[in-house]
């Protein structure tokens, strides 16, 4: 099983969720993060003082999926989240060793 972590632009969340649902992803979790990256660093003025806006609001999506679904999912997220402009985000994949569904105590791929 793999954990896929995608950090995307907030307003792309709904589109990405729909695209993932269409290819059969049934579970994920979403959190609010602030991203620091190439997009960061523009200057604003607040009460006459300049400051650099380093952190940009982003949405992080995490889902654990069977190994064979990874490529399709990467493809789907990448397409749905792309605007072509800087700050579109990243997707990372890591290994997961175990999974448990709390309600039933099912394990591993059954738990996804």
């Amino acid at each position: 099983m793999k954990l896929i972590v995608a950090v995307i632009k907030p307003f792309k969340l709904e589109e990405v969720r729909q695209a993932l649902t269409q290819i059969g992803v049934q579970g994920l979790m979403v959190s609010e993060v602030k991203g620091y990256g190439r997009q960061s660093g523009h200057t604003e003025i607040y009460r006459g003082a300049e400051y650099v806006v380093n952190f940009v609001p982003k949405i992080k999506i995490e889902m654990v999926v069977p190994d064979d679904r990874v490529d399709a999912i990467l493809e789907t997220i990448s397409t749905a989240a792309r605007t072509g402009k800087i700050g579109d985000g990243k997707i990372f994949v890591a290994s997961v060793e175990q999974a448990v569904r709390v309600r039933t105590d099912e394990r591993d791929e059954d738990a996804l």
Binding site: P10, F11, L13, E14, V30, S31, E32, P57, I59
Partner: protein, 468 residues
């Protein structure tokens, strides 16, 4: 321009120094210049009710913000819904039944006990002709019926607001609204008629039961008992039948469930504080004479002093007891101070008013945890503030008002308590056994907002993720 006061004083001093002159001026001026014309009295009294009324109306927003700030965020939208709905229901119920039940005039159904049943009608449009002469029917020595109704309605609504806070986070919307309707139509007006409608607790002559038994009428200027403790009793009955929030006393401990938005609760307190000037000041019921308006001024000052006393008592006491000041106690302290002075805001000196309010603040600090020990779950502290401080305030009348008798006060507190608590208990129990008053466990866990309203008070997650 601020020195006018001085100038006037000096002018007066000058007059005083030359009695003849003063006399002369006074004589010349007196006939036309001193008397306040009847119509002006009517206008000024009416104006007091209108100003007082809108200030007390504003308290509805205060209760709403206070409660919205002290519940957990998953129940905030519901608390807002309940508050705007209860105010609306009170407006309708008091019009349909309440006002004439409370002020039956000569139309008592049972003398001194049960008023008249009919909707309120206002006096006709345009009581005066083009020259300002009175042409309409009715009483022109008091104030307009419309203003009187408007003012009194707000007291009725305030009573209902008290209940909503105590029962927050677990009561179903509709049963709560049904209770509110009965409270504002029937329960509140009946007991209020006993005192303010000139019923058996306050008959217009000296041969009544109170006078003969206790040698004193029941005195409650603006409603420490008639309004606040009534809300408190109704809330207490509800809290007992409804039970505490899930987990509140789990594991034999008092589990803290902090309010979600303290600046909102603070705002609510300030709103209530402001509205209270209308509540107490308007209860003078007149400002068409020099004496009345000076009395209203005393009331404003004392009301403010009592609130300040309540705040400072709560602040000092929480610092002493817990080593830290508790903001929510300070807020409750302000309100307890206000409730405490409500039964007699006129006669105390500023110092006494401050002290009476301070005792209210002390009461709150001690009784909030006491209720918790009794496993009575009052989300916003409504029972300590409105019931306990209300009782204290009603007793404190004897400290400054020579007409008050401790026995008459205690008896009346008890009478109102038994009636309101009893009827409320029956009504809550009835609702409980029929339609049920409490949401399902799972709904309570998820929060009333999503369970009963299908929305969230603060729905955002991922700023801007809501569809672009």
């Amino acid at each position: 321009m601020k020195t006018k006061s001085l100038v006037a004083l000096l002018a007066l001093a000058a007059l005083a120094a030359d009695p003849a002159l003063a006399q002369e001026t006074a004589e010349a001026a007196a006939p036309v210049a001193e008397a306040v014309p009847t119509h002006s009295v009517f206008i000024l009294n009416t104006l007091l009710f209108l100003i007082g009324g809108f200030l007390v109306m504003w308290m509805a927003a205060g209760f709403c913000m206070l409660e919205a700030g002290l519940v957990r965020s998953k129940n905030v939208a519901m608390q807002c819904t309940k508050n705007i709905a209860l105010f609306s229901i009170a407006s309708i119920g008091y019009f349909l039944v309440g006002f004439n039940l409370m002020y039956p005039g000569d139309g008592w159904s049972i003398d001194g006990m049960l008023g008249a049943f009919m909707p309120t009608s206002l006096e006709p449009v345009g009581l005066t002709d083009a020259d300002g002469n009175f042409t309409g029917p009715g009483d022109i020595t008091y104030a307009s019926v419309g203003s009187d109704f408007f003012f009194q309605l707000m007291f009725c609504a305030a009573t209902a607001s008290i209940v909503s806070g105590a029962l927050a986070e677990r009561i179903k919307l509709w049963p709560f609204l049904i209770f509110t309707f009965v409270l504002t139509c029937i329960i509140y007006p009946i007991q209020a008629s006993w005192k303010w409608g000139a019923g058996w607790l306050n008959p217009s002559d000296d041969t009544g039961f109170m006078a003969t038994t206790f040698g004193a009428e029941f005195l409650d200027f603006a409603g420490s008992t008639v309004v606040h403790s009534v809300g408190g009793w109704a809330a207490l009955a509800g809290a007992l039948i409804l039970g505490p929030r899930l987990g509140k006393y789990a594991g034999g401990k008092v589990n803290v469930m902090p309010g979600s938005n303290l600046p909102l609760a603070t705002l609510g307190t300030f709103i209530l504080w402001l509205g209270w000037f209308g509540f107490n000041g308007g209860s003078q019921l007149a400002m068409g004479s020099l004496g009345d308006v000076a009395d209203v001024s005393r009331i404003f000052t004392n009301t403010n002093a009592a609130a300040a006393g309540g705040v400072m008592a709560a602040i000092f006491l929480t610092q002493l007891l817990y080593g830290k000041v508790d903001l929510t106690m300070a807020l409750n302290g302000a309100l307890a101070g206000l409730v405490s002075i409500t039964a007699e805001p006129l006669t105390p000196s500023i110092g006494l008013a401050t002290a009476i309010g301070a005792v209210g603040g002390v009461i709150v600090v001690f009784t909030v945890p006491m209720l918790d020990k009794l496993k009575i779950d009052d989300v916003v502290g409504a029972i300590p503030v409105h019931l306990f401080a209300g009782i204290w305030g009603t007793i404190a009348v004897v400290l400054s008002n020579g007409d008050a008798g401790i026995a008459a006060q205690l008896f009346s507190i008890a009478v109102v308590g038994v009636f309101v608590f009893g009827v409320s208990l029956v009504l809550w129990a009835f609702l409980h056994m029929t339609i049920g008053i409490r949401v399902e466990e799972e709904e309570e866990m998820a929060g009333l907002d999503s369970a009963e309203l299908g929305l969230e008070a603060y729905p955002e997650f991922g700023k801007g993720s809501q569809f672009v």
